[in-house]
């Protein structure tokens, strides 16, 4: 079954509204099929998966999903257990909660569960959303930790492999909220083949499945494009000396803006989008 979904992948910058208009969670709910949706919550990034799982369970149930499941994978081994695969098979949407992205990665990377998610995404029969840690894991490389309040430098960011759901992206979250420009810049200096995406809280990079994403929610998505980078001192820098990055292209995108991350350019509305509904 291919579901006609608006946003097959949603990367949320954390702290999405859960008590007001629920704009982002509603967009996910609708993308997953609305009242026909079966939603699987993966709370395993959190140290309190029961609490987190229960909270999203209540939200998606109240929004009117046909069914909501908590896929509480509790160890790397469980990621291969058939009970989780069977439940995943019934889902039209999977929601990765916040918490620790390393924990999330450890529990599901290379698992049968993860392979099944990738297959379903490929077939266009699943919507995948991740918030905070759940967004951090989207790229082939991920920011596993770091600090803030310093000039960009190597030691400001810890990097490791991510789940590779959208391989070309390097995602950071709680972006302007937690002063993470310098850490994303430091990450891009390490991986200038990637595209940096900094997502603010209660804000979502909503991917349309055609190489573009649009911005949904309250804040901004910051794009750091190093494609035209002319110089970085990264290869020569030690841990704490400040980094140079010359000739970056940066976009600040807000609600309704759309970006083509395959072509690395702002997506201009086409004729059919501009016509009246």
């Amino acid at each position: 079954m291919t579901i006609p979904t608006k946003y097959p992948i949603m990367a949320i910058g954390g702290a999405e509204d859960k008590v007001g208009k629920l704009e982002i969670l509603t967009a996910f709910f609708k993308s997953a099929g609305g009242q026909q949706a079966t939603i699987g919550i993966v709370p395993c990034a959190s140290q309190e998966p029961s609490v987190v799982g229960a909270r999203y369970y209540r939200i998606f149930t109240e929004l009117g999903a046909r069914s909501v499941q908590i896929l509480n994978i509790r160890s790397p081994q469980e990621g291969d257990e058939s009970r989780w695969i069977e439940r995943l098979d019934t889902c039209t949407g999977v929601f990765l909660s916040g918490g620790d992205q390393v924990r999330l990665f450890d529990f599901i990377h290379n698992s049968t569960f993860m392979m099944a998610i990738m297959q379903r995404l490929h077939l266009g029969s699943l919507v995948l959303a991740g918030t905070s840690a759940g967004a951090a894991v989207m790229g082939e490389k991920m920011i596993s930790g770091g600090s803030s309040g310093e000039s960009p430098n190597r030691s400001l960011v810890d990097l490791m492999d991510g789940l590779g759901i959208i391989p070309e992206l390097l995602v950071d979250q709680h972006f302007h909220n937690r002063n993470r420009m310098a850490r994303l810049l430091s990450a891009i200096a390490a991986h200038p083949d990637k595209l940096g995406i900094g997502i603010d809280e209660d804000t979502c990079a909503a991917f349309r499945g055609d190489g573009t994403f649009e911005v949904v929610g309250k804040g901004a998505v910051t794009v750091i494009d190093p494609r035209a980078l002319t110089h970085t001192n990264y290869p020569l820098s030690d841990g704490i000396s400040p980094l140079s990055l010359h000739d970056l292209q940066v976009h600040i995108l807000s609600a309704g803006d759309r970006y083509d991350y395959k072509r690395r350019s702002i997506h201009t509305p086409s004729v059919e989008m501009a016509s009246p509904v």
Copy 2:
């Protein structure tokens, strides 16, 4: 008298080292003539001008300046008093302390004192340095206040006129340290004819008087160039809605990097710089 100075204007991002190698303060001291320097400290941005003045007095005296004066202008009226102009006439370097840039602006803008500084800068017979608030006032427009931790938006930044020492710049300081990327972006959205310069703590944009500056000190200088801006929603945005800024050019510059703010490009070392000394 024209003094052969390396850096006629120095914009320091605040919190410059005062107890270690004093790299930035020494560069200012040397630019102002070293042991031949007469340095005037303008502490009037501070609410505690005596304390601040005394601290810099001690530093520049210990560095070996021939003379150090504290130009403690205490009101807008005092900026026209001949005693300060007379003392200024003897100075080869003037140092604007940190504090509140609005207070500094109020005390000296349109004053005889400020006109004398501009004239001396024009003649090439004075070095002017400003740290924190003293750097903020450099542009024709200045950031007078604001907040952080939000997506770029109109209400994140307060803007007013600056002293116009380098009119085309819009300067922010304590930059990555205090999470000010979003506020400088918001300021640039309001004034896209300006060039945004975000200076980190213990870091200096040291202007050479030829339309270029180089970076001195511990951190980075972030350049936000909106010259190729293709879109901003600023004119239509209300106070708190997130801003869009498409197609910014951004440079992260660190020690030794040099930028041509007239041509808006990285300054490439010329032959005479590359040759052995």
